[in-house]
């Protein structure tokens, strides 16, 4: 009963520390209009709009989809709002795609954003709650002990994270939409940056960005129309999956969460993936702190448990050194982090790659790609596979 569907339009804003030139509505509309133009469509062609973003306190607007209905051309249409923590950009794309897969709509516009400069994410993450221990550490402080556990468990050398930080920033130089462009970055620069949360240096953490991402997901009928109108090929969705597990319980493996492994297994079953490292041509994975590259390499089955850091050290994940499984060719979350949009940017970049539209960071002949986003205390996962071939 599930209908085939594909990405037929892509738009994103330039990510910046402060987009003071636009309102929230202006920001999301910028990405949305770009996605519509890419698909050869206008707002009038869209059946429904699905918006995602991380906590509303990041901008100080409660349920902003209500305020954004007109800016996103949703008046008189269904408008939907997803919030699943940091994985939300990915979950939002999945919710939108299901509206097409279920045969409800032909063309769904999905948008995700964060305008972090309007508020203060550190404050919003640390509001005191009754009977709860205040975190007061931000996300990096939360994840640093988990990273140390990974290092201890795997025996990884101390510089693996720094190598990821350098690699993703160098790859970002080929992405005009990336927030951080640091042409002089090298290991020494990362090591010399201030230690924020041991072992994470300042340059091993994601930036705070304003930005938005948008995609148009279309049915087979919409794909045929877009192909003939624009001459651009679609990114067919080969599988999508979400998994959640509880935040805290005795024995929870926070280094290699079961929810991530289960999510990948479900996804690979749908997409017919047996050997992720060989079957994918590239991957865009949510790596907000450098060490999450080797950790997710293992969680996603690209190597045996304990070996993730070896792939990073070998350069297997670097497109600049000809690695066989390039990760985060766009520069990843380490180079742009409009939180609510960061997951969608991962999904969007995989679609750009298999459509052959990634420009200077295009992986040659990318035919199948994996997009992943995670959120909360790494208990929420959203993933999809897109490819050139019609499933």
């Amino acid at each position: 009963m599930s209908e085939r569907c594909a990405v037929i339009g892509i738009g994103q804003t330039v990510a910046k520390a402060k987009r003071e030139d636009v309102s929230i509505a202006g920001l999301v509309r910028e990405a949305a209009v770009m996605a519509l133009e890419d698909a050869g469509l206008t707002f009038a062609d869209i059946d429904a709009v699905v918006l995602g973003k991380a906590p509303d306190m990041f901008e100080g607007v409660m349920m902003p989809e209500l305020y954004l209905a007109a800016a996103l051309g949703a008046v008189g249409k269904p408008m939907f709002r997803v919030h699943t923590a940091g994985s939300v950009g990915g979950s939002t794309a999945i919710v939108a795609a299901h509206l097409v897969a279920a045969g409800i709509h032909d063309r769904v516009l999905t948008v995700a954003f964060e305008k972090q400069s309007d508020s203060d994410a550190m404050w919003a993450l640390s509001v005191p709650q009754p009977f709860s221990t205040p975190l007061l550490a931000g996300a990096g402080g939360y994840f640093a002990p988990i990273i140390r556990a990974y290092m201890h468990r795997s025996g990884a050398p101390r510089d693996t994270g720094m190598k990821v930080a350098v690699k993703d920033r160098l790859q970002a130089l080929n992405n005009p939409f990336a927030h951080l462009h640091l042409p002089d970055i090298d290991l020494k620069m990362v090591e010399d940056s201030i230690m924020l949360w041991d072992p994470l240096h300042y340059l091993e953490a994601c930036p705070s960005s304003d930005g938005a991402a948008a995609m148009v997901i279309g049915s087979e009928r919409a794909v045929a129309q877009a192909e003939s109108d624009t001459g651009k090929r679609p990114a067919w969705i080969h599988g999508m999956a979400m998994r959640s597990e509880p935040t805290m319980f005795a024995g929870r493996d926070q280094v290699n969460p079961q929810a991530g492994r289960d999510c990948a297994a479900d996804l690979y079953r749908q997409a017919g993936i047996s050997d992720p490292r060989a079957d994918f041509d590239m991957a865009e994975i949510y790596v907000p702190f450098s060490w999450y590259e080797p950790m997710w390499l293992e969680n996603l089955g690209f190597c045996a448990e304990g070996d993730g850091w070896k792939l990073t050290e070998e350069g297997a994940t670097s497109m600049l050194t000809g690695g066989d499984i390039p990760w985060n060719c766009s520069g990843g979350v380490l180079s742009s982090n409009p939180i609510g949009a960061s997951g969608m940017l991962r999904f969007l970049e995989t679609a750009l790659q298999v459509r052959g539209l990634a420009g200077a960071h295009q992986v040659p002949d990318a035919r199948r790609a994996l997009g992943q986003a995670y959120g909360g205390g790494s208990q929420f996962f959203a993933m999809w596979v897109v490819g050139v071939d019609k499933p």
Partner: protein, 361 residues
Amino acid sequence: MSTFPDLTSGHRPVGVVSFAQYDNVRREGDHNEVEMLMPVVAEVFANVGITKDDVGFICSGSTDYLVGGPFSFVTALDAVGVWPPRAESHVEMDGAWALYEAWVLLQEGEIDAALVYCFGRSSPGDLTEIMAVQLDPYYMAPLWPDPTSLAALQAQSMIDAGMATEADFAAVASRARRSALANPKAQVAYDRSPEELLREDYEVAPLRRHALPPLTDGCAAVVLAAGDRAYELCERPAFITGIDHRIETHALGARDLTHSPSTELAGRKAGVDKKKVDVAELHAPFAHQELILVDALGLADDVELCPSGGALAANPMMSAGLIRIGEAAKVIWSGQADRAVAHATSGPCLQQNLVCVLEGV
């Protein structure tokens, strides 16, 4: 061979098979959101003899601003206990929209049952301030208009247009609170005549106290099941034969507040007018809004309105919409109705609306 209602849209038959809600109260001071949800989730499963292991998807609805902290849905998930890990999602919307997301997934045929839940406590904060933050952040929110004042503007527009009088609002409230006497979950129920209610002082003219919803702490849950699975769990499932939702602009000045074109369109798409409607559970937090909704849905005079008492009897935020679907399902299960319409709203002055048609066989 099971029989299903006529689904002209070609959709898979999906039914509401179980519903549970918390005791709607003004202030739940002893239990937090997770503790409130735990018995409700346990009840919604126990009603149909299943566990979390029997549902293929979980979707919830809530909003952080009521709790006053980010990620309020994260700990709420502990009310279900998603171990081993589950396919799960969350909307920053009323639970009625979480139900919509689950219904969409059930259409694809991979899963046969889903859990939907939602929660909202008004007591920890001041709703008159909180809801202002929901408005346009540049032009409206800085003026801090409270929801009652905005609803009063809408009610006054109806009076100015000659569409209704204050006595009409009182009649809605009188009937709703009288119906609520039979609803054990109602927070506000009484038997008072419209004439008596009209002697109350104005809260914000032209709205008197009776025309306002109560402030409520509450939560609710629903189990959806598809195809034959629905009949395994429920003798007479309340099948969703149509469901649709639509939104209007945020700019109040650009809307005709006396009408609800989004409800009208959603109702038409959901097929409300295809057959006789027996019961309608309308999510009208303010009394005058019921009149707008009845008009938008084209409900005939013989339709029984809000037998539960509606949102005037209890109005837990992010939950009162899903509760309307649950209450509509109850009248199908009991055989009291063959066809019921449930409605949910969000945003100021009925900005966003969902319509769900339920039928029994």
